[in-house]
């Protein structure tokens, strides 16, 4: 048994094709609604999970659509835990570090680089670790406020 995978409420294994991101969002949204999370929290969590999946496709798989993403969801003792794992190129740990989002100025407009800060903005904790058999695993935790 690895990573307590039998304790998950949901485990999705999805091809790393951006076409399927909408399906991942729908399934994650359904699970969050079943957990009776407030609507605005649902929207934010769906966004952060989508960003983690998009990052895996863009960076770990460099856009390859024929690999797999694994999305695991779990509610435990008032905490939600969402994990996105891939089998792609390991990211340098510093790329997952928490950076505060600064209000960009008119002269400093850079598209991109928003995904990881968004994940940190939405979740209480974002842990990154290399996967057991290579790849990357991002675990995001949120304490329920209700």
């Amino acid at each position: 048994m690895d990573n307590g995978e039998n304790n998950q409420d949901f485990r999705l294994i999805v091809r790393s094709d951006p076409r399927f991101l909408g399906s991942i969002r729908s399934l994650v949204r359904g699970w969050l609604e079943a957990c009776e999370l407030a609507g605005n929290v649902v929207d934010r969590v769906v966004l952060a999970v989508d960003e983690a999946c998009a990052n895996a496709i863009r960076h770990a798989y460099e856009g390859r659509c024929d690999e797999t993403l694994e999305v695991s969801l779990r509610e435990d003792g008032g905490h939600l835990e969402l994990r996105v794992c891939d089998h792609g190129a390991p990211c340098p740990p510093e790329c997952m570090e928490h950076r505060e989002l600064q209000p960009p100025t008119a002269d400093d407009l850079r598209p991109g680089g928003l995904g990881v800060p968004l994940m940190h903005e939405v979740f209480d904790e974002v842990d990154y670790c290399p996967g057991i058999t290579g790849g990357n695993c991002v675990t995001m935790r949120l304490k329920r406020k209700d």
Partner: protein, 105 residues
């Protein structure tokens, strides 16, 4: 999820109406539409986001690219009536202060 992009002219402005979900899969189409419209526009480009049910960071980055391109070309770039989903992401990314936003068209 489908994304519909419709271009029309309104005086000096080119209107780009966007409906559907903007994510890693669909944002390249929006990027192409915006970056093509900006240099060709008379006065500027207005992007109607009232029908956008979802936008991710790649979609927001696309809007930033549009704004940058508009500045380079001396054109205006306005976001029209962003839906609550769009406003939430603009606020989360602190970009709500960067764009010129018109709340009603």
């Amino acid at each position: 999820m489908a994304l519909a992009i419709e271009e029309s002219k309104s005086g000096e402005e080119t209107m780009i109406g966007v409906r559907g979900e903007v994510d890693l899969y669909t944002s390249p189409r929006l990027r192409t539409a915006i970056l093509k419209a900006v240099p060709a526009a008379g006065g500027g480009v207005a992007v109607d986001l009232s029908g956008v049910g979802y936008i991710d960071s790649s979609g927001v980055a696309t809007l930033v690219e549009g704004l940058r391109s508009a500045r380079e070309h001396g054109k205006t770039f306005t976001l029209i009536a962003p839906s609550p989903a769009v406003m939430q992401v603009l606020e989360l990314t602190r970009l709500d202060q960067v764009f010129e936003v018109q709340t009603a068209s």
